[in-house]
Point group: C2
Chain length 702, copies 2
C-alpha cells in the first residue's frame, strides 16, 4: 500500500489543487490555504470549491470538484465534519488520487467519529483515493513551493528550504518546528501533518521521504504508534539508506495515559514500551524539543557509536561546566585527554591539563590554539565524540572559535562534533548550520543530543525462534482449563526457565498423605493455588518459613480459612508447597502485548522498588541473550548483584538466559505473564522462579 514515486509526486507536488470549502472570510481557517499557496509561490493551478459563492479572493469557484472538468491531483478538504463524506465521494467521482482532510470530528472524537472515519476509508479505498488525515493541518513542501496547509505559521513572508523533513502527529508542531528552524537557519524539505492516519500515516510518509532526494533526515513528532510493523520497516529501510530518523515523543508523563489496570505489565505504561520499540528499530529518540531540530547534523554520515566517551573542549570554565553538568546524568564518560595527547600538544607549544574539561581560557581563545587542540582531540581513537564550547567571543568574533571548528570538519575530521555557544550567537549558529555541524542553543539540548546519539542502536534483527513445541502443546492441551500457577510453571519450565520444585497438597488438610509430608525438606513456603486469586499475599494466601509438618498443617488450615472468608467466590485448586529458598536478590519479569507496539518484556528488581523508582528495562519481545544482558545492565537496582562495593556477584548469565527464554512468550498465544520473584543466586548457582502467572490471549482465554 505504499505509493510509488510517481504518485508521490502528485501527493507532495501536485500540478493542480482543489480547495474544498474555500472561504473568503479572513477570520476563518478555511480562507488560509488559498492565501498561503499563492504567498509561497505555488505554480500549479488552484481551484476553490464553494457552493455558495462565485469568487473567493478574486478566483473563480466551482460547486464541486467534479464540476472543475480538469484533472485535480490533490484535494484539500476543509468542510464541516458531516459534509466530508460527500466531498470525499465527489473526489472519487472526479478521479482525484490524493485528498488531505483538515476537518476534525472523526476517530479522535470517539466511537461515532471513528465510524464516520471508517466510512470515508471505505468509499476512498474502493475508488483508489488515498487520504492524508482527517484532522491534518496539511503539509508544506518548501523545496517545490507547495504550502498546502491552514497552519498560521505560513503568514511568514519567506521560508527557507533545506534537508530536514518532519512528519508530525500534531498539526501545531509543524508550525512550531518550522518557525523555530527558520529562526536558526534550519531549512525543511517537507513538513507533513498526518492527523488521524486513517490511510497514509507515519510509516507511508516516511517511506516516501526515504525516496525523496531532497530529504536528508526524517524527524518525527509522535503522540502514539498506530502501525508498528510499518514504522519498523520504514525505520530499517531509512537506516540502510543512511537517512537518520529522529523522534520526539509526547505522552511521557502519566497524565492522560491510561494506566495499565491489569496485574501484570502494570509496571510501565505503554510510553516506556514505545521508547523501547523506537530504539529497537534504530530510531534516535530525543527528549528536548530543541534537540529534535538540532541533532540531525550529528547523525549525518554516522553509524551508532561504540562507546560513550566524550572530549570537552572549551574556552570558558563556566560554559564547559554547563554542558558537562547536563551530560552528567546520562551515563556519559567525560574523558580527559591522554598523556600522549597532552604531550603532542606540548610539542606544538600548547599546554593543556589532562582534566576532563579541556579549558583553553581567554588566553587560548584564538583560531590557532582552538583549531590545533580540536584537530588533536578529533584524531585520537580513545573518544567517540567531541563537544566544543565557545564563550562570549562567538557572538561577534566567529573567527576565534567557530571558524576553526568549521575548518577542522572541512579538512576531513569525521568524529562527531556537538557545539554549544554560551551567548546568543545567531551568526555563528548560522555558519555552523551551513557547514552541517550540529550546534545547540542550550546546554540541555546539547547534552540531550549527545545522550540520544550514544543511545542510538542499529535496528535489531529478530532473534531466531526458540524451540517452542512443548510450550505450545501445554497451551493447547490446557486450552479449556483455567490457568493456574502450576500450568504456568510447567509452561515456563518447558521454555527453559528453572522453576522451584513444588508439591500441590489438597485443600482439605484431612486428605493430606502423611507419607508425602515426610518427604518434604523443611523449611517450606505454602501458597494458595487458585485461577481466581492473583494477589495471594493480600488475602493471607502465602505463609513463609514453615519449619515442620505440624506447622505446615496449621498453615494450610489458616490459608483455606482466610481464602474462604475474603474471597468466597474463588475456586481453590490446592495448596502449593515449595522449599524456602534464598538468593542474593530478586528479579521480576513481566510480559505483555502492548496495544501500540506489540509484545514487550520487562525486567526489574523484585518487590515494590521497581515501581517506586521506575527502574525497569523494557524491550520488544523476543530478545536474545545479548539483549537480555543489556537489560540487566540497565537496571540500577541490580548493582549489588553486579558486584557493587564488593558484594557477591549473582549469576547474571543464568538471569539473561531466563529473560530470553521468558521473552519467547511472544511466539505463543499469551496476553500477559509475570514471574515474581525470580531468585538470583550466586555466580554459577543459577536462578530459580518462585511464582508464575500467565494470562492467555483473549482469543483463547477461558
Amino acid at each position: 500500500m505504499i505509493p510509488d514515486a510517481v504518485v508521490a509526486r502528485a501527493l507532495f507536488n501536485p500540478r493542480s489543487i482543489a480547495l474544498v470549502g474555500a472561504s473568503g472570510d479572513e477570520n476563518k481557517h478555511a480562507s488560509l490555504p488559498q492565501k498561503y499557496l499563492r504567498r509561497h509561490g505555488y505554480s500549479g493551478e488552484v481551484f476553490p470549491i464553494n457552493a455558495h459563492r462565485d469568487y473567493v479572493f478574486g478566483e473563480r469557484t466551482y460547486k464541486r470538484v467534479s464540476d472543475v472538468g480538469r484533472p485535480i491531483e490533490h484535494a484539500f478538504i476543509m468542510v464541516p465534519t458531516d459534509a466530508v463524506f460527500d466531498a470525499v465521494s465527489d473526489c472519487c467521482r472526479a478521479g482525484v488520487p490524493y485528498a488531505t482532510i483538515l476537518s476534525n470530528g472523526f476517530a479522535e472524537s470517539g466511537d461515532a467519529g471513528r465510524r464516520k472515519q471508517d466510512a470515508l476509508l471505505d468509499v476512498a479505498g474502493s475508488a483508489g483515493l488515498r487520504l492524508l488525515g482527517p484532522n491534518s493541518i496539511g503539509f508544506i513542501n518548501l523545496v517545490d513551493r507547495v504550502a498546502l496547509s491552514a497552519s498560521e505559521i505560513l503568514s511568514a513572508p519567506d521560508l527557507l528550504p533545506g534537508g530536514h523533513s518532519l512528519i508530525s502527529q500534531s498539526g501545531t508542531l509543524i508550525g512550531a518546528l518550522l518557525s523555530r528552524g527558520q529562526a536558526r537557519g534550519f531549512g525543511f524539505s517537507k513538513l507533513i501533518s498526518v492527523g488521524n492516519e486513517a490511510d497514509l500515516g507515519v510509516a507511508e510518509m516516511g517511506e516516501m521521504l526515504i525516496d525523496d532526494p531532497s530529504t536528508e533526515a526524517i524527524l518525527l513528532f509522535l503522540e502514539t504508534v498506530r502501525n508498528a510493523d510499518g514504522l519498523a520497516a520504514m525505520a530499517r529501510r531509512a537506516y540502510e539508506a543512511g537517512k537518520p530518523v529522529v523522534a520526539f515523543r509526547v505522552g511521557r508523563s502519566d497524565v492522560g495515559q491510561q494506566l495499565a489496570a491489569s496485574h501484570t505489565g502494570a509496571l510501565v505504561g505503554s510510553g516506556a514500551a514505545l521508547d523501547a520499540f523506537l530504539r529497537d528499530i534504530g530510531v534516535v529518540r530525543v527528549d528536548t524539543l530543541d534537540a529534535l531540530l538540532e541533532i540531525a547534523p550529528l547523525l549525518a554520515g554516522q553509524r551508532p557509536p561504540a562507546g560513550r566517551r566524550v572530549s570537552v573542549l572549551s574556552t570558558t570554565g563556566g560554559g564547559g561546566a554547563l554542558v558537562i553538568d547536563s551530560m552528567g546524568s546520562h551515563r556519559i564518560e567525560i574523558a580527559p585527554p591522554s598523556d600522549s595527547t597532552v604531550q603532542r600538544l606540548a610539542d606544538k607549544g600548547i599546554s593543556i591539563k589532562p582534566a576532563p574539561l579541556v579549558d583553553l581560557t581567554l588566553a587560548g581563545t584564538n583560531s590557532h590554539t582552538y583549531g590545533t587542540v580540536l584537530r588533536e582531540l578529533m584524531a585520537v581513537e580513545d573518544t567517540d565524540l567531541v563537544v566544543c564550547v565557545a564563550g562570549s567571543s562567538s557572538q561577534f568574533r566567529p573567527d576565534r572559535t567557530v571558524m576553526p571548528i568549521i575548518a577542522a570538519v572541512r579538512d576531513g575530521g569525521t568524529k562527531p562534533i556537538a557545539v554549544f555557544l554560551t551567548p546568543q550567537a545567531d551568526t555563528s549558529l548560522g555558519l555552523l548550520s551551513e557547514a552541517r555541524i550540529a550546534a545547540f542553543r542550550t546546554p540541555e539540548s546539547c547534552a540531550d543530543a549527545v545522550r540520544a546519539y550514544f543511545d542510538w542502536r542499529a535496528p535489531r534483527s529478530a532473534p531466531i525462534r526458540n524451540r517452542l513445541d512443548v510450550a505450545i502443546s501445554i497451551l493447547t492441551e490446557t486450552a479449556s482449563t483455567p490457568l493456574d500457577a502450576t500450568i504456568a510453571a510447567r509452561l515456563f519450565a518447558a521454555l527453559g526457565i528453572p522453576m522451584a520444585a513444588e508439591r500441590v497438597l489438597p485443600i482439605d488438610a484431612a486428605e493430606i498423605d502423611a507419607g508425602l509430608l515426610e518427604t518434604l525438606t523443611f523449611p517450606v513456603v505454602a501458597k494458595v493455588l487458585s485461577p481466581d486469586i492473583a494477589h495471594k499475599t493480600e488475602i493471607g494466601g502465602v505463609v513463609l518459613d514453615i519449619g515442620s509438618a505440624h506447622e505446615l498443617e496449621r498453615a494450610l488450615r489458616r490459608i483455606v480459612e482466610q481464602a474462604a472468608r475474603l474471597r468466597p467466590d474463588a475456586r481453590l485448586v490446592g495448596i502449593q508447597v515449595q522449599p524456602m529458598l534464598n538468593g542474593l536478590a530478586e528479579a521480576l519479569l513481566g510480559y505483555r502485548r502492548d496495544p501500540a507496539v506489540g509484545p514487550v518484556v520487562t525486567l526489574g528488581v523484585g518487590g515494590v522498588l521497581a515501581e517506586i523508582y521506575g527502574d525497569v528495562a523494557i524491550r520488544p519481545a523476543p530478545v536474545d541473550d545479548a539483549t537480555a544482558h543489556d537489560m540487566i545492565a540497565e537496571v540500577r537496582g541490580f548493582a549489588p548483584v553486579r558486584g557493587y562495593r564488593g558484594l557477591p556477584r549473582g549469576d547474571l548469565d543464568a538471569l539473561a538466559r531466563a529473560v530470553a527464554a521468558f521473552s519467547s512468550l511472544a511466539f505463543l498465544d499469551v496476553a500477559e505473564a509475570e514471574i515474581n520473584p525470580l531468585l538470583i543466586r550466586a555466580e554459577g548457582q543459577g536462578v530459580v522462579a518462585l511464582d508464575a502467572l500467565l494470562v492467555r490471549d483473549s482469543r483463547h482465554a477461558d
Copy 2:
C-alpha cells in the same frame, strides 16, 4: 563589611575610572574596556594607565593611578599577575575606594596564587580599598551606562536596560545571559562578575542590589558558595524586601567534584548540600539556563505557594502535552477544572471538558474564548498556578491568545501564570515580557520554572536549640578517649534517639561471665567493637541471628580470630551484643559539616539503595520535626512505610523525632556521624538505632 549606599554608587556608577594596563592593541583584551565604556555611553572621566605609551586610542595616558592628580572612584586592573600587587598598592596611595581586578593567576590557580591574593587583600584592607575579583571580567551597569568589562558581548551596539540584575561566579555567563536576555527583550540593571570573591562577593553584591531601586530580581550563577552565612543573610533580607533571588548552579554532576572519601556523608556530594542550603534560605533554584532568564516575572509579587496544583489551558493538544510531559516528573499535579468551573463556562456558552488539559482547539483560538476561560481558571481557588499554551497563531496573531492573557493579568489577576508559545514568536514574547508575564521559549524551561516555583520555600528560621547538656558532657568527658560505637550510642541516646539495648562482652571468651549470658534473650547479634574498624561486616565482624549461649561463644571466637587476621593493627575494645530486632524498613541517617555550607543532615533508605538511586533527602542541620517530616516525604524508597499498596505503615512520627534529634549534632563538636541502620517499626512502635558512628571535629579529634 557591607558598603553603604554612597560608596555603592562609587562602585557601580563611578564618576571617574582608571583603566590600569589599558592597551592600544585591538587584539588584546586589555584594549576592550576603554572602547566599551565609550561605546555604551559612559559619561564620567576615563584615565588610561599605561607606563609605555602616551596615548591609547587618542586618549592621554598616565604612568600610574597616583599620577592622575584627580580623584579616581574606580580602578579596573588588567596588568599581568605579578604587576597586580603594585597596581593595587598604587590605588591605595591614590585613595581609590574600589578596584576591579581582571587579572588571573590568583586563588583559582593554586596555593601560590592564593598567597598572592592574600597579599592583595592585606594591602587593600589596610587602606580601605575594596576589591572585586581578582579573575573578574568586570561589571555592566546598564541603567547608568557604565560598561566596565572586557566581555566581548559588549561589542553589541545597543543594550536594553531593565529590572534584572545578575551576580555570576563565571565571567562568561555575564555575556551569555546578557545576550540571550537582549534577544528576548529582557533588560538588565546590573551584571556583576565576582571572580574569586577575595573581598566583595555574592553576598555583598546581593546586599547592594537589595538596596538598588532599579533591581527587581536578583539572579545568581553559582559554581560554589564561599560565604554561606553572608549569602543566607542576604537571601533572607531579599525575601523580606520582596526581591526574588533565583540561582542556577553548575557542579551538579560528579565530574570535577571531589567525591567525599570518608565513610559517613559519602552518600551525596556537596552539590546536594548546596541545593538544600539554597532552598533553606529562600532562594529559588532553576535547573535550565533558559529558566534563569525567564522565571523572574513568575515570582514578582508572589510568596511561596501552598500547593502544587496547575491548570493547563491550551489551544493545541500537542503543545499542551509538551508542557504537561515536561512537568510530569516533578510531582506537579495537573488539576482538571472542577464541575462548577465547567458549569460556569457552559453558562457563558463555552463548552470545555473536565480533563487535565483544557484544550480549546483551533475552534477556541480567539480572544473571547481564551480570555473567558483563562479568567475563570485564574479566579478559582483549587489551583495554584495556570500554564497558558498557545499554538502557531501566536507568531503572527497575538490578538488571539497573547493579548487576552495580558488583559486578564492587567485586570487584576493575581494567580501566577506561566506562558509557553509553541512557535518562534518573538513579538508575542516581547509583549508578554513588557507586561511582566513569565513566558518561556521551551516546554522544558517552562516546566522547570513551574517546578522551581513550587519548590520555593520561605527562608527557614533556625529551630530552637535542643537541650544538649548531657551530650556535651559525654563529648567532654570522653575527649581523650578513642570514640567507639558505645560512646556514640550513649551520645545519641542522650539526644533522645532510641538505641538498641546492648551488652559489651570481653574479647577473651574465657573472661565472659556465665551469669551474664543467661540474662540475654536470644536470638542476638554480635559485633566487634573497635575505634579502628568502621566497616565491620567486611572483616566478618558481625554475626547475626545467634540462637543460644553456646552459639554466641563460638561466634565471639570467630569474630576475634577474623579481626586478628584481617586487621591485626586494630584495637579491639570488646564484643557488642544486641537483641536481634526486626522492623518494617531500615533508614540511614548521615551528618557532616559540608565545607561550603556547614552542617547538613541526610536521610535515606538503609542498605545500598540510597546510593544506587541517589534517593536521599538533605537539609542544613539542625532541623525541626516538621522539616524532618518533609525529608521523610521526599525519600521515594520510604513509600512502603508510607502505606504504599496497602503495606503496613511505619512509625514516621518517631522517625521524624529521631531525625530532628540527630540533626542537633550541629550544636556539638562533631565532624561526621551516621546511624545505620535505624529500624523503622510499625506505627506506634517507634524506631530503634542498631549501629552508630561518630567522628569528632578535628579540633577535638583523637
